[in-house]
């Protein structure tokens, strides 16, 4: 019995942009260090409405002397996140995790390209940090394409600048950076990255990932983290599935929580 459900304490919960929140949760020191792409299931201790816990990707992890802390970057989209947004410093949350698999970083590719849409920046920031630290990639070897609908929806930019020098920001309305879809901005540069020397890490809305899939056309190694409604977070309820090609190329439903949330983009079957 390795895993516990942890009681975390909200150390900060700030609205960093309209509807976007950054929550810092202090946890006991035996909370396992998360790998980039992993998530937690979070709920308010003792509260049964909303009924289900919410899956949120881990944005950062820091270890202190007697405890550790994670940060969660989230957008208020419904009842669950609305209630999370109302939590004040000192509130207790129940956290289970870290859950799911992670982005794989044990490859020797020259170019690292990140493509994030909106809140998709969260796992990719943790990944960029891990790559700098563990795989000793220099900030110059990594290129980040970050897109959002408007400037108001661009979050986490300042922290990202420290990790990644080659940074392209785009918005749908041009209110910040280029006026373009993030996938189009990447497509303009695609010739810079040869498929054999490049790995692409992506996270963002379905439309972005699907468009990326078309652009890459199966030629690039691309790992993408997906989001789905979840009930259990550990693979038991089989509620959060995505259609993929299995080992023999046949369609199968894989669980985003336990088989993902990171998948090879080429595996995903689009409707």
């Amino acid at each position: 019995m390795a895993k516990d459900i942890y009681i975390g304490e909200v150390a900060a919960n700030e609205e960093i942009q309209i509807d976007y929140f950054l929550m810092k949760v202090t946890l006991p020191s035996d909370f396992t260090e998360p790998l980039p792409g992993q998530f937690v299931m979070i709920r308010i201790a003792g509260l049964h409405d909303p009924f289900l816990s919410r899956p949120i990707s881990i944005y950062s992890y820091t270890r202190g002397k007697s405890n550790c802390a994670i940060e969660l970057l989230y957008r208020v989209v419904g009842k669950g996140t609305q209630i999370l947004a109302g939590l004040i410093k000192g509130s207790q949350v129940e956290i289970s995790g870290p859950l799911g698999g992670s982005y794989s970083i044990d490859h020797q590719k020259k170019n690292i390209v990140f493509i994030a849409g909106g809140i998709g920046i969260a796992p990719l920031s943790l990944l960029a940090e891990a790559l700098c630290r563990k795989a000793s990639y220099s900030a110059a070897a990594m290129t980040f394409y970050l897109g959002a609908q408007t400037a108001d929806a661009v979050v986490g930019l300042n922290r990202l600048r420290k990790l990644c020098y080659n940074l392209t920001v785009c918005t749908d309305d041009g209110s910040l950076g280029q006026k373009a879809l993030v996938t189009k901005a990447f497509q303009k540069d695609i010739k810079k990255y040869s498929p054999s020397d490049t790995v692409i890490y992506a996270c963002g809305p379905k439309a972005m990932v699907q468009s990326l899939s078309k652009i890459l056309d199966g030629k690039y190694l691309c790992q993408v983290s997906l989001e789905e409604r979840m009930a259990c977070g550990v693979g038991a309820c089989v509620g959060c599935v995505v259609a993929v090609k299995d080992g023999q190329g046949k369609p199968a439903y894989k669980r985003v929580c336990a088989d993902g949330p990171v998948f090879d983009l080429q595996q995903i079957i689009w409707e």
Partner: protein, 300 residues
């Protein structure tokens, strides 16, 4: 704390409900499986099933809807790849089985009866999310009895029939499967329901309808357990929105000899263990020596 269900002795009356605990391994990091009364595994069919397209789940007030559609690895892969894991534990394993035809039910039952480490069968005649089989067997007393007979003919294991609440008279179905030889009944499976996305005016579930579970259905489940317990002599296993020890005890007082914990596992992976501990404390505090002494003790 021990109870007996159709000749199968369980160390306590708390089981996991099928479809909420995977094949046991999913929760093995959170729960000491040895402490459970029984593990009821995800429903098994003869061949692997793809299941329904997503979205498959939706949160509702006090519960959730699901339309997973019995995605499972199939009975052969279960026996080869999942059962060895469960055999490491000292816990009763109950295989939940499903078929699109009575023949499929009997074939799955036969295979599982020959496998080492399966202690009972739970016959799912109540899944609301599949086109063939499932609910269509469970909503007709004659069809439910026929499935029961066919399964009984193929197995020496205790046979539990899992009933649907989506019928007019659940006790009539329970009586019918009892006459057909069922060793126990478990109830309730989920109640059919739906939810609509106002922005798009589309159903939240791709399957349009799904099965409602969670504390929202507990009063309905409790009423049905009470009704069935009065009409059959075989053990009744209570299922439906049990979140706490108090919920579990209510079911037992209503007539359930054992209970299954389902959706509660999703929001509190320790729910089963907390309920087992809670029953133990309840018995101690009330100086009750034998758990069976509270079963069906409702005063009306």
């Amino acid at each position: 704390m021990s109870v007996e269900i159709g000749g199968l002795k369980l160390k306590n009356p708390v089981m996991t409900a099928s479809g909420t605990f995977g094949y046991g391994e999913e929760y093995a990091d959170y729960v000491d499986l040895n402490q459970l009364g029984a593990i009821v595994v995800k429903g098994l069919s003869l061949k692997p099933r793809l299941g329904n397209p997503p979205p498959r789940i939706m949160e509702t007030a006090g519960g959730m809807l699901n339309a997973v559609g019995l995605q499972n690895v199939g009975v052969d892969v279960f026996i080869k790849e999942k059962l060895p894991f469960l055999r490491q534990y000292d816990v009763a394993v109950i295989a939940n089985i499903y078929g699109e035809s009575t023949l499929e039910y009997s074939q799955v039952a036969k295979k599982l009866s020959q496998a080492e480490g399966v202690h009972a069968l739970e016959v799912n005649v109540s899944c609301p999310n599949v086109k063939k089989g499932g609910l269509s067997f469970g909503s007709d007393p004659k069809a439910a009895a026929e499935v029961t007979r066919r399964v009984k003919a193929e197995t020496h294991l205790p046979v539990i029939v899992k009933l649907t609440p989506n019928v007019t008279d659940i006790a009539a179905i329970a009586q019918s499967v009892e006459e057909a030889g069922a060793d126990a009944v478990s109830l309730i499976n989920t109640l059919t329901g739906m939810a609509i996305d106002l922005k798009t005016r589309t159903p939240h579930l791709k399957n349009i309808t799904g099965g409602l579970s969670g504390p929202a259905i507990k009063p309905v489940a409790l009423r049905m357990v009470w009704q069935v317990a009065q009409r059959v002599a075989i053990p009744v296993i209570g299922i439906g929105g049990i979140m706490t020890v108090e919920d579990a005890l209510e079911f037992m007082i209503a007539g359930a000899k054992a209970v299954q914990i389902g959706t509660a596992n999703f929001i509190n992976p320790h729910a089963t263990i907390e309920i087992i501990d809670g029953i133990r404390h309840y018995l101690q505090n009330n100086k009750i020596k034998n758990i069976n002494d509270i079963v069906g003790t409702l005063r009306t």
